[in-house]
Every structure is written in structure tokens, then in C-alpha cells.
């Protein structure tokens, strides 16, 4: 059980790096989709027995993160007719290295926080925090609206991992929080990308510069 969990979390971390290093938006969408679907397995492994909230979280993650959101994003990518390259603010290689550095630092120091169980401190907490950080890097270093939403989704994935630690103790809060977060993600993607697309005929946020100092 715990071996599988650790292996999954490591794959999640590797997908983080791939998401940072990939130059095509479509591939990044797919990577984030795979990551989301993998996350769906985690609630079933974290605690000894499988509870209803864990099952709901699993289904929601696989269905929404793994299938629904990527489908919406791919559709809006098709509709948008934008250049399919990512165009990052810093190069792809530096952003991979930045992500790997962040991951390494988190792995080295997260034990200082002092977790309640060995499994949590070993992989879950560092995986969660470093995924959040990678999501942040994606958000900051990308220009396209879709890429930024992808960053938000990765960030949300990190929070999801952490939520799994608490899904037995406070199931309602965790479920509600995660689902609402996902809902916001969908909301942002579908409404804003559509409208930005209509108004600007491109989803490059560098065009959104009429408001600045």
C-alpha cells in the first residue's frame, strides 16, 4: 500500500517537472490530466480503510481533474486558434531547474515541520508542498491565459494531496474546499477564456496590458 503511494507521489513530482519543461500547451494539458487522474488513486491508499469521503474524492479527482477539465481545456485550445507553443517568461530549462530546486529544498526541509505520521512526512507533505510551488512557478512564468490556468490546476493538485491527510478527520471541509476550488478552476477557464478570446482574438495575457501603472 505505502509503496504504491510513494511511487505514485514520485510520479506526480516527475510530472511536475515535465509540465514545466514541455513546450506544447496540448502536452502540458495532457500531463496535468494524467497527474489529476493519478491523484484520484491517492485517497484510496492514504488511510487503512476506504471511507465514503475518500471514494468521493477519488471519483471527483479522476472524473473532473482527469477527464472533464482537460476536455474543456483542449476544446478551448482548439477554438482559440492560438499558437500552440508555451512561450514562457524564463526559458524552459531554467524553469525545470527552478522547479527541481524547489522540490529538492522542500524534500530536504519538510521534516522540520514535524508530521503526525511517518508516511505523511516521508512523501505526502513534501509532494504536496512542492507541487504547490511548481504550480506557482507555472503561474508566474507563463503568459498565455491557458498556461496560467494550468498553473492554477497544478497548484490545486498540490492542495488536493495535502487534503488527503485530513480526509478522515474533517471530510466535509476537505471535500467542499477541493470541489469548490475545482469549480472555480472550471469557471475561470470556460468563461474567461471564451470572453478573452472573443474580445482579444488571442489568449495571450501580454495583450491584457491596458491596465497598468
Amino acid at each position: 500500500m505505502i509503496e504504491l503511494l510513494n511511487a505514485l507521489l514520485v510520479i506526480v513530482l516527475v510530472l511536475n517537472l515535465f509540465a514545466l519543461g514541455n513546450s506544447r500547451i496540448l502536452s502540458v494539458i495532457r500531463i496535468v490530466a494524467v497527474q489529476g487522474a493519478l491523484l484520484g488513486v491517492i485517497p484510496l491508499l492514504v488511510h487503512e480503510r476506504i471511507t465514503t469521503p475518500a471514494l468521493i474524492a477519488a471519483v471527483a479527482a479522476i472524473g473532473l481533474k482527469g477527464i472533464a477539465i482537460p476536455a474543456i481545456m483542449i476544446r478551448s485550445l482548439r477554438a482559440a486558434e492560438i499558437k500552440r507553443e508555451v512561450e514562457p517568461l524564463v526559458g524552459l530549462l531554467p524553469s525545470i531547474i527552478l522547479g527541481a530546486l524547489a522540490t529538492a529544498v522542500v524534500l530536504l526541509f519538510s521534516r522540520k515541520l514535524g508530521a503526525a505520521s511517518e508516511a505523511a512526512s516521508n512523501m505526502i507533505i513534501p509532494a504536496s508542498i512542492s507541487t504547490v510551488l511548481v504550480g506557482f512557478i507555472l503561474l508566474i512564468t507563463r503568459f498565455k491565459a491557458l498556461s496560467q490556468v494550468l498553473g492554477y490546476l497544478v497548484l490545486e493538485n498540490g492542495i488536493f494531496i495535502f487534503g488527503m491527510l485530513l480526509i478522515e478527520a474533517i471530510p466535509l471541509v476537505v471535500e467542499m474546499g477541493l470541489l469548490l476550488d475545482l469549480f472555480v478552476g472550471i469557471f475561470v477557464i470556460s468563461i474567461i477564456t471564451n470572453h478573452i478570446n472573443q474580445a482579444f482574438s488571442s489568449m495571450d495575457t501580454r495583450e491584457l496590458v491596458s491596465l497598468k501603472e
Binding site: 510513494n6 511511487a7 514520485v10 515535465f18 531547474i97 524534500l107
Partner: protein, 302 residues
């Protein structure tokens, strides 16, 4: 004793079949029937019967290159334990020898390429050396993780691991190292997405462009060494992804061959669904492999 003989036989005879399996998989993906599984053997047979042509600009280095390469990868093959069996040659620190046998092979391949004095082959040599700067440290980090984990500096010891299977805490670094080594393997054996073994456009190639001037038996040796290299690296990787054993020698050998063939199919699938990376993106991939193996190390020592 019998295991050593089997080891040698497999090392010498199996590798071209792996190429055949890869090509067959690719053909199936493309909807073609494809060449027979044994095509690589026929090719080698054909090449070994041919004569050789040498450019007047070349020296003995050009001739020695393929031979030294062949000897080096064969020697490396003797250091790697296949499946649950011990390697014929094993001593503490042989992992360094293993890595540098590959280094030696690379040095002579590139030296032979430079020896032709052709601009194209020099370019290929430069690329090969550049990329190996990244793949070699990745390989070392991967070995470092294994050596640290199992407390052995010999390939046999560290690849076999402890008797009772892996403890939970090492799964994470092992997965990282496995992915990293897989990328290294693809790079070392010149497969997609790093290099395309089928391309005939010199500007885009790495390995193939270096051996353009070789012909006949020498070219055969080059191809043969390349397949052995795939075999060797593949069997290193198999220890990480499929550390099963049954206890019965016959079953174990069969399982090993089956795993290796499955790995070839996996490579074939990857080649079919991915495109070759642009040349300037290749270092990103290799840096990724390096970072993966490095994080595996961090994960282990923290």
C-alpha cells in the same frame, strides 16, 4: 557455471532480436506488416560478408573505433547481472568500470568519426559528446542511489538488492532513478525522442551520422555493438522496474527474456507515439533525467 554460459549466449545472440522487436512494434503501429523479427540478424550476416572501403584520409583509429567499441560494450555486458543471476565478473567498484567502458566506447566512436575529417561526422561527434555530459552524471547519480541504498559498490550487489524485497521508503527514489535511467538508456542507444535511428538526414542525426563512412563488417560491428548496448542498459533497468524472481533457473531465464522483449515493445511504442525532439530541446530532456536521478539521491539521503 551453466548460468555463465547462458549469460554469454544471451549477451551475444539476443541483442539483434531486440531491434527486430522494436521495428516490428513500430511497423504494427504504422499499420505495416514490417520486416521479420530476425531481420537484424540477416542484415548483420549480409554486412559481414561484404568488403570494406576506406577513405584515404583515415588512419588506424578509424578501423580500431568499431572494434574497441564492441569490446567495451561486451565487457560491460559481463559486469551486469541478468535477472536474478550473478554477473560473470563482479568486484567492488565495478560500477565505475561499467560507466567508463561506455565512456571508452564513446571516445573511440567519436575519435573514429573525427578521423574521417568530414564535417558531418565531426558534427555528430560533437553532439554525442555534448549530450553525454548530461547523461553520464545522470547514470552516476542513479548508481549512487542504488549503491547507497544497498550498501554495495558492485553492480551485482546493488542491482539485486536485499533478499526480502524493497522497503517502502526506497520505492520513491527507485521510481525516480528508473525514469531517469530509462531516459539515459534512450539517449545512449540513440532512440527517439533523442535521436532517430531511421533518419538519413545528416543534419538531424547524432549517432548515425558518425558511422556514415563505415562499411561492410565494420558497419556490422557498429550495429551489433549498438544492439548490445541496448541489451545491457535494458537489463540494468529491468532490475529496477521488475525485480521479480521465481527461484527456478529455467523460469527465471525465461522471465528475464520475456521482460527484455517487453521493454523492447515499450521502446517501440514510445518511438511510435512520440516525435523526435528538436536538437536544442534534447539537453532539456537529459537535464530532466539528471534532475530525476539527483532528486532520487536527495530523497534517499535527507
Amino acid at each position: 557455471m551453466i548460468d555463465t554460459v547462458v549469460h554469454l549466449l544471451l549477451l551475444l545472440l539476443l541483442p539483434p532480436l531486440l531491434l527486430g522487436v522494436i521495428n516490428k512494434t513500430k511497423a504494427l503501429f504504422a499499420g505495416r506488416v514490417g520486416a521479420p523479427f530476425l531481420q537484424s540478424y540477416y542484415d548483420l550476416w549480409k554486412l559481414f560478408r561484404k568488403g570494406m572501403v576506406f577513405s584515404s584520409a583515415t588512419t588506424w583509429i578509424f578501423r580500431a573505433g568499431p572494434l574497441v567499441t564492441f569490446a567495451a560494450v561486451l565487457m560491460a555486458g559481463l559486469l551486469v547481472p541478468l535477472g536474478p543471476f550473478d554477473a560473470p565478473v563482479a568486484f567492488a567498484g565495478d560500477l565505475i568500470l561499467f560507466a567508463y567502458l561506455f565512456g571508452l566506447a564513446r571516445f573511440f566512436t567519436t575519435a573514429a568519426a573525427l578521423d574521417t575529417g568530414s564535417a558531418f561526422e565531426g558534427m555528430g561527434a560533437a553532439r554525442e559528446v555534448t549530450f553525454s555530459c548530461l547523461s553520464e552524471p545522470a547514470l552516476f547519480f542513479g548508481f549512487l542511489v542504488l549503491a547507497k541504498q544497498y550498501g554495495s559498490l558492485s553492480l551485482t550487489g546493488m542491482l539485486h538488492g536485499p533478499a526480502g524485497g524493497m522497503p517502502a521508503s526506497v520505492v520513491a527514489p527507485i521510481v525516480l532513478v528508473a525514469i531517469g535511467l530509462f531516459i539515459v538508456m534512450l539517449a545512449e542507444t540513440c532512440r527517439i525522442p533523442v535521436d532517430d535511428p531511421n533518419t538519413h538526414l545528416e543534419l538531424t542525426m547524432i549517432h548515425e551520422v558518425m558511422v556514415l563512412d563505415h562499411s561492410g563488417p565494420l558497419l556490422g560491428t557498429v550495429l551489433y555493438s549498438a544492439s548490445i548496448r541496448l541489451f545491457v542498459l535494458g537489463s540494468v533497468l529491468l532490475h529496477l522496474v521488475a525485480p521479480f524472481q521465481f527461484g527456478d533457473p529455467l523460469l527465471d531465464w525465461l522471465a528475464f527474456v520475456a521482460e527484455l522483449l517487453a521493454l523492447s515493445v515499450a521502446i517501440g511504442v514510445i518511438e511510435s507515439i512520440m516525435a523526435r525532439l528538436r536538437m536544442r530541446r534534447v539537453p532539456y530532456l537529459l537535464t530532466g533525467a539528471l534532475l530525476l536521478c539527483g532528486s532520487g539521491f536527495i530523497l534517499l539521503v535527507r
